[in-house]
C-alpha cells in the first residue's frame, strides 16, 4: 500500500493552528505518510510536527466554508486546526483518520525513521537476559537460565530465556506451563540480595471448577522456599473474581495443595475497567466549565486515584513480605501480563535502589514489561479520547508510571531521573519514532525484526545530550528500602500528565530552573573552593614550614 493513496490533499495553505497557552500560528498544513506538519514558513515560529500515530481521534466542525478539525492526541493534548475550504477540510480529516489507524505494524513510523544522530550504544543490545542472569549468579547459585521456551512454544508471551529454580528441569517446566494461563509458569522476577528472598510471577493456575492440580507447579514454586519457611501468593484479584475465574478454567492455588503458601487477595481492577477510568479522568481534567464540586466528584468517579492507591498498596505488600517478613512471594492475576507486572515492577522500585537509577529503571522496563510480555501494542493502541468500544486498550503502563511518580514525589532525592523521564516514557509507549514499544511480546518483536529495522528508544535516550533533561538534580543515591505512604491524603493527581496541556507551566519551569541553578551553583563553588584549597596547600609546601603569626 502506498501512503499517497491515503493522502487526498497533501497540502493546504492558510490553516490556523490553535493550542492552549500558545499563540495561534497561521501557515501551511502538510500531510506526509507519518506526520501532520504545520509550518508558518517564517523564522522564529515553531513548526508543529505531529505523528499520525499520536492521534487518538478527531472531530470535524463547519461554519460556512471554514472547517475546523479538533485533533485529540494520545499524549492527551488537544489542538485545533481551522482549514479554509470544506473539501480540503474533509479530505484532510479522512486522511488523518486513515493514517492514524494503520493496521499493519510494519507501516509504522519506526520502520521508516532514520536517526539523525549516530547510534553509539545500541539500545537493543543493552538489556539482555544473559547479563541480568550474570548478576544473579554472583549472588546465588540456586537458579538457572532455561531455554525451554527458545522457540516460544511453551509460552508465546515469554522470552526465550527464563530464570527458574536450579532443581526444576525443563520437562517439569513444560508441565507447569500447561497448568498456567497462557503457559506463563512461575519464573523469577526479583532476587532480594539482603535476605535471599525472591519474587516470582506467573499467570493464574488452571484449576477450573473441579480443582485440578499440578505436582510440577507445586514443586516448582516450593523450590523457591527455604526449608521450613513459608511464602506468600499475592493474587491481584479479589477472591470473588478469582472464584469466578474457575468457571472459565482459571482459578487460584488451593491451600490444600500449596500448604506452604499463604494466599492474599487484593483488588486491582481489570484492564478494561482501567480504560474507562482514564477516559473519565481526562474528560474531567479538560472540562473548563465545572464547579469545584463537580471536579472532585468526577475525579472520584474516574476511580483513577483509587487504582493508583490499590496498585501501590499491593506492591508495598509484596515488598513488605519480602523485606520485612523474610518470605518469598509469588504474584499473579489472571493473565499475568498486566496487574502482575505493575506489582512486581513497583515492588522492585521500593526494594532495589538500582531500579531508581536511569539505567536500572530502563532495565526494569525491559525485564518486567517488554520481555515479560506486556502487550504494549494492544494496550496502547488508543488512549483517553478513543470513541469506539475499547478492544484491549488499557492504561496499565501509564498507571505504573503514575505510581512511580507518586513514589518519586515522596522520595524526591532518591531517584536519578525526574518527572520528565516518566512523561517521556508515557509518550513513547503510545506513539514513537522508536521501535521499543512495538509488538506485544519478545516473539512478535523478533518476527518484526525490530532490532534490525528500527532504532531503540534507549539508543536515543541514553545519549548524554538527551539524558541531561531527565536527570533529577536532587538525586543522592539512597540504598535503603523506601516505603511510600498510600493514604489518599498522600496521593496526588499527576498534573504533569493529566493537566499538562491545561496549564501554563511557566511558574513551575521557573521553579525547576531555580532548583537546578541552586544546586549547580553549589557544585561550582565546591569545585572552586577545593581547587583554591589545593593551590594554597601547594604554596604552603613550596614556602616551607608554616609559622603561625
Amino acid at each position: 500500500m502506498e501512503f499517497a493513496e491515503l493522502i487526498k490533499t497533501p497540502r493546504v495553505d492558510g490553516v490556523v493552528l490553535h493550542r492552549p497557552f500558545m499563540p495561534t500560528v497561521e501557515g501551511t498544513l502538510c500531510l506526509t505518510g507519518h506526520h501532520l506538519i504545520l509550518s508558518s514558513r517564517q523564522d522564529n515560529t515553531e513548526e508543529l510536527w505531529l505523528l499520525h500515530a499520536n492521534i487518538d481521534s478527531i472531530e470535524k466542525r463547519f461554519v460556512g466554508s471554514l472547517g475546523t478539525i479538533i485533533v485529540k492526541c494520545k499524549d492527551l493534548r488537544v489542538i485545533q486546526l481551522d482549514i479554509p475550504g470544506m473539501e480540503e477540510c474533509l479530505n484532510i480529516a479522512s486522511s488523518i483518520e486513515a493514517l492514524s489507524t494503520l493496521d499493519s505494524v510494519s507501516l509504522m513510523y519506526p520502520f521508516f525513521y532514520r536517526p539523525l544522530f549516530e547510534v553509539i550504544e545500541d539500545g537493543w543490545q543493552l538489556f539482555v537476559p544473559e547479563e541480568a542472569f550474570k548478576d544473579l549468579e554472583s549472588m546465588t547459585d540456586e537458579w538457572r537460565l532455561s531455554e525451554v521456551n527458545k522457540d516460544f512454544s511453551v509460552c508465546p508471551s515469554y522470552p526465550s530465556l527464563l530464570t527458574v529454580p536450579k532443581d526444576i528441569d525443563d520437562e517439569s517446566l513444560c508441565k507447569a506451563a500447561s497448568f498456567r494461563h497462557g503457559g506463563r509458569f512461575p519464573v523469577l522476577s526479583y532476587y532480594h540480595k539482603k535476605n535471599g528472598m525472591v519474587m516470582m510471577r506467573a499467570a493464574q493456575p488452571l484449576t477450573g471448577t473441579n480443582g485440578r492440580r499440578c505436582k510440577e507447579d507445586e514443586k516448582l514454586i516450593n523450590a523457591t522456599l527455604c526449608a521450613g519457611k513459608r511464602g506468600y501468593i499475592i493474587d491481584t484479584r479479589t477472591i470473588a473474581v478469582a472464584q469466578q475465574a474457575k468457571a472459565r478454567g482459571g482459578g487460584f492455588e488451593q491451600e490444600a495443595n500449596y500448604p506452604q503458601w499463604r494466599r492474599i487477595h487484593k483488588a486491582i481492577e481489570r484492564s478494561n475497567v482501567l480504560q474507562e477510568g482514564l477516559i473519565k479522568l481526562v474528560e474531567a481534567c479538560n472540562d473548563q466549565s465545572h464547579s469545584m464540586d463537580r471536579w472532585l466528584s468526577k475525579l472520584e468517579a474516574s476511580n483513577w486515584q483509587s487504582n493508583v492507591k490499590e496498585i501501590l498498596t499491593t506492591a508495598c505488600l509484596a515488598a513488605q513480605c519480602i523485606d520485612r517478613e523474610g518470605a518469598s512471594v509469588l504474584v499473579h492475576g489472571t493473565e499475568g501480563t498486566d496487574s502482575t507486572l505493575q506489582v512486581t515492577s513497583l515492588a522492585q522500585i521500593i526494594l532495589d535502589p538500582a531500579c531508581r537509577t536511569i539505567r536500572g529503571f530502563e532495565a526494569l522496563i525491559e525485564r518486567e514489561w517488554l520481555q515479560a510480555g506486556h502487550p504494549f501494542q494492544q494496550r496502547c493502541a488508543q488512549s483517553a479520547y478513543s470513541n469506539g468500544k475499547p478492544r484491549s486498550e488499557a492504561p496499565v503502563f501509564l498507571l505504573f508510571l503514575d505510581c512511580v511518580w507518586q513514589i518519586l514525589r515522596q522520595f524526591p532525592c532518591s531517584f536519578q531521573f525526574n518527572e520528565n523521564f516518566l512523561i517521556m516514557l508515557f509518550e513513547h509507549a503510545y506513539a514513537s519514532q522508536f521501535g521499543t514499544f512495538l509488538g506485544n511480546s519478545v516473539a512478535e518483536r523478533l518476527k518484526l525484526l525490530l532490532s534490525q529495522k528500527t532504532v531503540s528508544l534507549w539508543s536515543w535516550v541514553n545519549r548524554p545530550q538527551e539524558l541531561e533533561r531527565f536527570l533529577n538534580p536532587l538525586y543522592e543515591p539512597n540504598n535503603l528500602v523506601i516505603w511510600p505512604s498510600v493514604a489518599p491524603q498522600s496521593l496526588l493527581l499527576w498534573e504533569g500528565v493529566f493537566l499538562r496541556w491545561n496549564r501554563s507551566t511557566k511558574c513551575l519551569d521557573e521553579a525547576y530552573q531555580e532548583m537546578v541553578h541552586i544546586i549547580e551553583y553549589n557544585k561550582e563553588l565546591q569545585n572552586k573552593v577545593n581547587s583554591l584549597r589545593r593551590q594554597l596547600a601547594q604554596l604552603e609546601t613550596e614556602d616551607g614550614p608554616l609559622q603561625t603569626p
Binding site: 483509587s306 563553588l525 614556602d543
Partner: protein, 679 residues
C-alpha cells in the same frame, strides 16, 4: 530531658499567681502507666506518665533510653472526649486547634474521670488572665519585651505605601476609640472629608465601622478601602456616607468611578435589609459600581472546616471516602470564592486603576480575608516574611478581627468560632503552590503563624480589638510573636524565592480552575508524619543554600589569602584549616530514615495478626514502638539494620523536624512541638 521538665515546673511555680488559681482545677496532677496511642497504627503505643500542669498536659514516656515527651498547651485543646472503655483501659481523646489528635488510655476509671474533668476545665479558660501568654516568661528583660512590640510599625507600613500624601491623611478622630471601638486609633481617610462627614458616615455603618483605607497603590493612586455594611434598610440614605464614598473616589484622580464590593451572597445581604442593614443603593451614590461576591458566613465556614477536619482525620480511608468527604465539606469551594474575590479587587486596582470599597456585614471577617488576599496578589512586599507579618498586623489585628471569639480563646459562644484566618492563610498557601518562586517564606511560616494564632502563647492574637488589648495591657504583660518568628527566619525561607525577578514585582494572576485548589495536607495532617513525603525538597534545598553561603565565605577567604600570598610569597601563611572539609552527599540527609524504613499497614493487620502463620518477631514489635514518634531508635533493632548502608546523618537540617524548628526554647516548651524530639 526529664530534668528540663523539672526545671519548667520550677519556673512556673515561682513566677505566677495564675499557677495557683489554675491548680484548683487540677484534680489529678499525675497519672502513671498511661498509654499514648499512635494514631497511624493503634497497635503502637507508648507507656508513660501523664502530668497536668497549669498550662500544659505533659506525657513523659517510660522508655529506658529515649525518654520522649509530649507537651500540649491547654489553650490549644479544643475538645476532650471520653471514648468507650475497653479491657485495655479508659481512652481519652484530645482534639487540638492545630489539628493534632492525641489518644491516651488511662488504666483507672477514677483517674480517667478526674483527668477528663480537669482538662475540660483547663482548656476552657474563663478569663484572659488564665491564658498562657500571661504566664509565659522567657528569659528576657523588660526593655527587650517592650522592644519586641515595636518590631512592627504600622506607621512605617503606611509610609511604605506612600502615605500620608496630598490626598490621604491620618485622622485623629478615633484616638480614644469613641467613634468606633473595634477600629484602630489611627485611620487613613481622604483629606477632603471633614470630621462631621466621618461621624455621619460611621453612624450609618454597622458598629460605626466607616469606610477607611486598607491599601494604597502608589503607582496609580487606587485604594482598597474597607467598612461594614451600611444601615440602609429598604430606603434609608446618609448624605455623609455618600460624601465619604465620593471623597474616596475623588482621591483617585485618574478614575471616574469606584467599585463597592459586598462579599456576601446577595441573598444574605438582602435579608439584612429587613434588620435595617443591607447594602449600597447604586442610585444614591454617585459613580459607584456595586458588586456581590458570594462568600458564605462564619457559620457555614465553621461547619465546612469541621467536615474537612473529620475527613483529614479518617484512619485509612478509601480514596473514594476521602475525595467525597473533601467535596462534601465544600471547603475548597469556599477557598476558591475568597480567592476569586481577592482577584477581582486586585485586578480592579492594578489593571483598571479603580478604587474599591469592600465590606461584608461587620467588616471584620470576610472583609479582612478579601482585603488581605488582594494585597498579597497586588504587592510583592506581602510575599516577604516581614510583609506578611505586617499585613496580618494591619488587616487583621489592628482592624479588629475578633481573634478571641473566632479562635475560641475563652470559654464562650461556640457560634462565634470560625476559621476565618485559617482561610486567609490557606489562600496564601494555594498561591504559593501556583507561584513557587514568588514568595520569600515557605509553608512552615504559615503553619507556625496558624499555630500561634490559636496557641495564646504570645499576646498578639488575644482579644477582639485594639482597644481591648490596650485595656488589658497586653503589651505590658505579654510578649510579641513577630520578633520570635523573625529570629527563626532561616527556617521559614523559601529557597526558590527570586526577589530580583521582574515578573515577581507585579500582580499575581492565579488560575482558579477547580483543580488548582488543593488539599493542604501539611496543615490538616500536620501531626500525621507518616502521610508526608519522606524526603523534603524544601529541606534539601535549604541545606544546599546554607552550605552555598558557607562556601562563598570560604571562597572569599581563600581568595584573599591567595592574593596576600601572591604579593608576599615568602611571608608566612596563615591558614585556617578545616573551614570546609570537602563534603560529599551534602543534601541528601532530609530523609527520615526511620520512617522510610517503616512500612505502613498495607493490609490492615493481616500480616502479623494471623495466629497460624507469621507474626512479627518480638524485636520488630518493639522497634515499631520505638518509632512511635518517628525518631531514630537508638538501640539496635530491626529498623536500624536497614541503615547499614543508608543515608548518613549530615546537616543540622536533617530529619526529625516535623515540629517547627523555631519553637526552640527548652525552658518554655511550645505547643508546636510533638515534644518528644526535643533535647
Amino acid at each position: 530531658m526529664y530534668h528540663d521538665t523539672k526545671k519548667y515546673f520550677c519556673t512556673l511555680m515561682s513566677c505566677t499567681e495564675v499557677w495557683w488559681s489554675e491548680m484548683e482545677h487540677i484534680r489529678m496532677p499525675k497519672v502513671e502507666n498511661v498509654r499514648l496511642v499512635d494514631r497511624s497504627s493503634s497497635r503502637r503505643t507508648q507507656v508513660g506518665t501523664l502530668y497536668l500542669t497549669a498550662t500544659h498536659t505533659i506525657f513523659v514516656g517510660k522508655g529506658s533510653e529515649d525518654r520522649s515527651e509530649l507537651w500540649v498547651l491547654h489553650s490549644l485543646v479544643c475538645d476532650v472526649l471520653k471514648h468507650k472503655a475497653s479491657q485495655n483501659g479508659y481512652p481519652l481523646i484530645i482534639h487540638c486547634k492545630n489539628f493534632q489528635v492525641i489518644q491516651f488510655i488511662i488504666p483507672q476509671e477514677s483517674d480517667w474521670h478526674n483527668v477528663y474533668i480537669s482538662l475540660s476545665r483547663l482548656s476552657r479558660p474563663e478569663k484572659y488572665e488564665e491564658l498562657y501568654c500571661f504566664s509565659f516568661n522567657p528569659n528576657v528583660d523588660k526593655a527587650e519585651r517592650e522592644h519586641s512590640w515595636d518590631f512592627l510599625d504600622l506607621k512605617a507600613e503606611y509610609s511604605r505605601m506612600g502615605l500620608p500624601n496630598k490626598l490621604w491623611h491620618v485622622t485623629a478622630i478615633n484616638r480614644e476609640y469613641r467613634v468606633c471601638d473595634t477600629y484602630p486609633a489611627d485611620l487613613f481617610v481622604p483629606k477632603s472629608v471633614t470630621l462631621p462627614v466621618i461621624i455621619g458616615s460611621s453612624k450609618f455603618r454597622s458598629r460605626g465601622r466607616f469606610p477607611t483605607l486598607s491599601y494604597y497603590c502608589k503607582e496609580n493612586h487606587a485604594t482598597i478601602c474597607r467598612s461594614s455594611q451600611p444601615l440602609s434598610g429598604f430606603s434609608a440614605r446618609c448624605l455623609e456616607d455618600e460624601q465619604m464614598l465620593q471623597a474616596i473616589m475623588k482621591s483617585n484622580p485618574g478614575s471616574r468611578f469606584m467599585y463597592v464590593v459586598d462579599t456576601r451572597p446577595k441573598l444574605n445581604a438582602m435579608a439584612n435589609r429587613a434588620a435595617g442593614k443591607g447594602y449600597e443603593n447604586e442610585d444614591n451614590y454617585c459613580n459607584i459600581k456595586f458588586q456581590f461576591i458570594g462568600i458564605e458566613n462564619i457559620h457555614v465556614m465553621r461547619n465546612s472546616q469541621q467536615k474537612l477536619i473529620e475527613v483529614s482525620a479518617l484512619r485509612s480511608p478509601s480514596m473514594g471516602e476521602f475525595l467525597m468527604g473533601l467535596e462534601n465539606s465544600d471547603w475548597l469551594r469556599h477557598i476558591k470564592s475568597i480567592m476569586e474575590a481577592g482577584i477581582f479587587i486586585s485586578k480592579a486596582v492594578a489593571e483598571e486603576g479603580v478604587s474599591v470599597l469592600v465590606h461584608c456585614s461587620d467588616g471584620w471577617d470576610r472583609t479582612a480575608q478579601v482585603c488581605s488576599v488582594a494585597s498579597v496578589l497586588l504587592d510583592p512586599y506581602y510575599r516577604t516574611l516581614k510583609g506578611l507579618m505586617v499585613l496580618i498586623e494591619k488587616d487583621w489585628v489592628s482592624f479588629g478581627h475578633k481573634f478571641s471569639h473566632r479562635c475560641g480563646h475563652l470559654d464562650g459562644e461556640a457560634k462565634e468560632v470560625s476559621p476565618v484566618i485559617d482561610q486567609f492563610l490557606e489562600c496564601v498557601w494555594q498561591l504559593m503552590e501556583q507561584f513557587p518562586c514568588y514568595f520569600e517564606y515557605n509553608e512552615k511560616f504559615l503553619i507556625s503563624i496558624h499555630n500561634h494564632v490559636y496557641s495564646c502563647h504570645y499576646g498578639n492574637f488575644i482579644c477582639n480589638s485594639q482597644k481591648e488589648r490596650k485595656d488589658l495591657c497586653i503589651k505590658e504583660k505579654t510578649h510579641s510573636i513577630w520578633p520570635h518568628l523573625w529570629e527563626n527566619k532561616l527556617d521559614f525561607m523559601n529557597p526558590l524565592f527570586k526577589p530580583d525577578q521582574s515578573q515577581n514585582q507585579g500582580l499575581l494572576r492565579p488560575r482558579t480552575a477547580p483543580y488548582c485548589f488543593k488539599y493542604w495536607r501539611r496543615l490538616y495532617n500536620r501531626f500525621d508524619r507518616e502521610l508526608h513525603p519522606r524526603q523534603s525538597e524544601l529541606d534539601c534545598l535549604m541545606t544546599v543554600k546554607e552550605e552555598t553561603q558557607q562556601l562563598e565565605e570560604a571562597l572569599a577567604l581563600y581568595e584573599q589569602k591567595l592574593a596576600v600570598l601572591d604579593k608576599e610569597r615568602a611571608k608566612t601563611l596563615y591558614m585556617q584549616k578545616g573551614v570546609l572539609e570537602s563534603k560529599q552527599a551534602l543534601w541528601s540527609s532530609p530523609l527520615d530514615t526511620s520512617l522510610a524504613n517503616t512500612p505502613q499497614d498495607y493490609i490492615g493487620g493481616f500480616i502479623g495478626g494471623a495466629p497460624n502463620v507469621f507474626t512479627l518477631q518480638q524485636g520488630e514489635r518493639e522497634s515499631a514502638e520505638l518509632c512511635l514518634f518517628g525518631d531514630k531508635p537508638k538501640s539496635s533493632d530491626a529498623d536500624n539494620s536497614d541503615q547499614e548502608s543508608g543515608v548518613a546523618d549530615f546537616s543540622s537540617h536533617s530529619s526529625g523536624e516535623e515540629s517547627l524548628p523555631s519553637e526552640d526554647s527548652v525552658k518554655d516548651p511550645d505547643s508546636d512541638e510533638t515534644g518528644p524530639n526535643r533535647a
